[in-house]
Symmetry: C2
Subunit: 497 residues, 2 copies
């Protein structure tokens, strides 16, 4: 068979490898390839698997093969290079998924085989979904969660800080706002303990820590920059996404997200593998408990705590979980810029700083200080408060920001709309997911200044006509989308007379 | 938001709805749409869901939206028509899948809700996969299989023949060749009982009954044509694919196939729903037993028998299963034309006609005659043989063929290669899937004359250098692919000295 010339045709399919061939081409006919066939594309010693689409529009000519952006990136061949096609060898690792679905247990070698094929982009979305479901909720036993975690660590990079004690904190998510990391990290570092923080961007939420930090500093740091910062300041707050830590996680998330599957084993493996690969050995875990979070009850929270602590122990990382209040957003801002403003108000000890976010940050920082063994039991929180109130935490944060590319000056987004209380009364509930959706429709996290600012929280009294929250957006249209959703969902914030 | 103009961009994605928008377009930015987002496309009162791909190649201009062939077909709007986009409402039926994965049982209403969304093309491949896995092997209880079967029937067309007795036969598959239907149907019809046969094309095999029948007659019949044939001849052998019988099955198969999942509940629901919707009320089921078929042991076969018979009873159809030998192909031809030649040899009572296919067809026809109540117990097979040997079955077949558009004259495919026995000995095994793959690589079923002709079957003695089987292909290249595979897989046919 003659070689086909690669054409990058400029179609972005996200992570999926798609190849495009002209309908009725001889190669497809002779090989029996059709739309949605899985084909293997060979370039020198490398190869990728791709799903085939047939084209009729002259987009791809006879003798060419079009590649989606992802396929082009993954194959790594220059445009115009010659490639050959073949039927892919059956993936033996998908047999393991079938066995797992039939009730078998998987070993660490099994998980490694699957993850290596996933990382080589040999799985279609259909097969990825099968793996994610095979691992969902009730299907992984504790041993399997450990094996999955280890396999996720071993198939990526690992950071070695060369330090005996490396602290970390993480929140399992589900609560908007809640930007404690940007307060905890400078407190711990100001105390003198190393806490090299790698954070993620938002996946389904209006902001991740990396998004909020990015409104005041650069977060795309190289490993060398991070090491230098930790050497000088004991801390950094960087985006972890470019470090190839437990890289399979991002691919699994691409199918977990649309399914909205509740998979404890996978969540535990995902979090612990990323933290261990990032070189941490003492992790404080924030587990918000509330009806719209991942731990719906104290019982759920305790089960997760045990799971995290036990698996953590086995991979050489001490984990302490803290169950926190997940009934409403923490802080007032929701969206990267607005959340960073909450953080700055607290670090600057401004009178209007949100108390709940301050209290929760002090609690977590205190727990972490005690967990390090450097501060006596029951004295952590007081120590954290002393560091915050003395201004040392602010100074530390400013030095970290400066060394991460300096303070950016942003002002509020131009389009704003107040959501007004229809009657006098008391705020009795704020729906975490719905208020997050309001912020996302307004543009968060892509537009960093977009989001929601809460003027009232649960228990606060409001007057008729008083603004309960303000929506911020970069365009009038996004503001309108967001308002429409808020008005169509009156249970976003409920006021009772 | 202004309307976007539809552009059919000539990309065939098989069944998946894909929409293409220019990267960085304002509508996507303002709505937060990105590559792989699920969007809803509205045209007048109709709407479809589609996965978004972003383009950079000028394929789609600002103000336009490109649609894949499937999306264009499903939306049903003319090119250039104006459409609007929105965020799709969350599918409530996917919650049911999550519940099922968590161990809940589903009711008939649940299955109906899911199937209606699937048929409206509201499911992505990820969600379809989740449903298929939720229903796989051990996950459906007998009640759920019944509900799924009923829901599959009720969401499609149903044929009413206006007859008290409507016979049918079906094979659950896994054995190449095995073209019994084209012999059983004329025997039953010549006896005088109605057997309006709707058959499928090959899904993963080298030929379905519809493919083989198509080499001698037209199989794309309208319901009116079928009814007229049944009125005049008691029988037809038509392709069932255009009749919208249990239509969700085809969509589910599009994700079941790549996963190669072993799902008894789904197989039972798939077969029984199609047969019931086709108006049958007495069904003989051929269940081949063998290590490379769906029933690997007699025990498997008996379990399937019970399941088919019980579910059949509950939907008003009497089912009788016959366990048959699935250890090797039945007949000599594999591929549409070659299988039809086997059938014609048997109907014409030619001396070289394959005995195993003849015997099996008589067994099934005899069982069906007894099952109808019109022939005494133990006398069915003799009656079937009498009809075949008297030439009545041939005459009936010729009349059916004539009324289905007349006999086509085909000759053998031009490129042929004999596979030679490396030594003298006895054929001790023929691998069903591997010999099927040889036939498929040669071009079957797309090229109707391509395939494999077996000169020796299990137990036959062969000389060194004797042809064990011949490969037929339309092109030299396909012949070469097929030979290559056969040579790389010597366990396709094993000769022992």
């Amino acid at each position: 068979m003659d070689a086909l010339k690669i054409k990058k045709i400029g179609i972005d399919t996200y992570k999926e490898n798609v190849a495009y061939m002209p309908a009725g081409c001889e190669i497809c006919k002779s090989q029996g390839f059709d739309a949605q066939s899985k084909i293997e594309i060979h370039y020198n010693e490398r190869s990728i698997l791709a799903i085939l689409n047939m084209t009729e529009n002259g987009l791809v000519q006879t003798g060419e093969i079009g590649l989606s952006d992802a396929a082009f990136r993954h194959l790594g061949a220059p445009e115009g290079a010659g490639v050959r096609l073949s039927h892919p060898n059956p993936l033996s690792s998908t047999d393991l998924i079938r066995n797992k679905l039939d009730g078998d247990s998987l070993t660490k070698e099994h998980f490694l085989a699957i993850i290596r094929d996933v990382l080589a982009f040999r799985y279609s979305n259909i097969e990825l979904t099968a793996f994610v479901i095979a691992c969902s909720k009730q299907h992984l036993n504790e041993e399997e969660i450990l094996y999955l975690t280890e396999a996720m660590i071993e198939t990526g990079e690992r950071i070695n800080w060369g330090l005996p004690l490396v602290l970390d904190k993480h929140c399992i998510g589900g609560v908007p706002g809640n930007r404690t990391t940007m307060i905890v990290v400078p407190i711990i570092a100001a105390f003198g303990l190393p806490i090299p923080k790698t954070s993620s961007r938002a996946i389904t939420s209006p902001s991740g820590t990396a998004d909020a930090m990015e409104t005041v500093a650069n977060v795309q740091l190289s490993l060398e920059q991070m090491k230098s910062l930790v050497h000088q300041e004991k801390a950094c707050i960087a985006w972890g996404g470019s470090l190839y830590l437990a890289p399979v996680d991002d691919i699994l998330i691409s199918v977990e997200r649309p399914l909205n599957l509740d998979s404890e084993g996978q969540m535990v493996a995902s979090i612990l593998s990323k933290k261990r690969a990032a070189g941490s050995n003492r992790l404080i875990l924030d587990i918000p408990v509330g009806i719209h979070t991942k731990a719906r009850s104290q019982e759920d929270g305790r089960r997760l705590t045990r799971l995290f602590e036990q698996i953590g122990e086995k991979i050489g990382m001490k984990v302490r979980a803290v169950l926190t209040d997940g009934s409403q957003p923490v802080g007032r801002g929701i969206g990267p810029y607005l959340e960073a403003q909450d953080v700055l108000q607290i670090l600057r000890r401004e009178p209007e700083a949100p108390l709940d976010l301050r209290e929760k940050s002090l609690l977590l920082a205190g727990e972490l200080l005690e967990f390090s063994g450097e501060v006596e039991k029951c004295k952590g929180k007081a120590m954290a408060q002393e560091i915050l109130d003395s201004g040392k935490a602010l100074k530390k944060f400013q030095r970290i920001v400066e060394k991460q590319g300096g303070q950016k000056k942003l002002s509020a987004a131009p389009f704003q709309a107040d959501q007004i209380s229809p009657a006098a009364g008391k705020v009795i509930s704020i729906h975490n997911q719905k208020i997050a959706k309001v912020a996302k429709l307004a543009g968060a996290p892509q537009d960093s200044r977009a989001g929601v600012y809460l003027h009232a929280k649960m228990g606060d009294k409001v007057q008729k006509g008083q603004a309960i929250y303000t929506i911020f957006a970069e365009t009038e249209e996004q503001l309108r989308f967001s308002i429409q959703y808020a008005q169509a969902n009156p249970d976003t914030v409920v006021v009772e007379a």
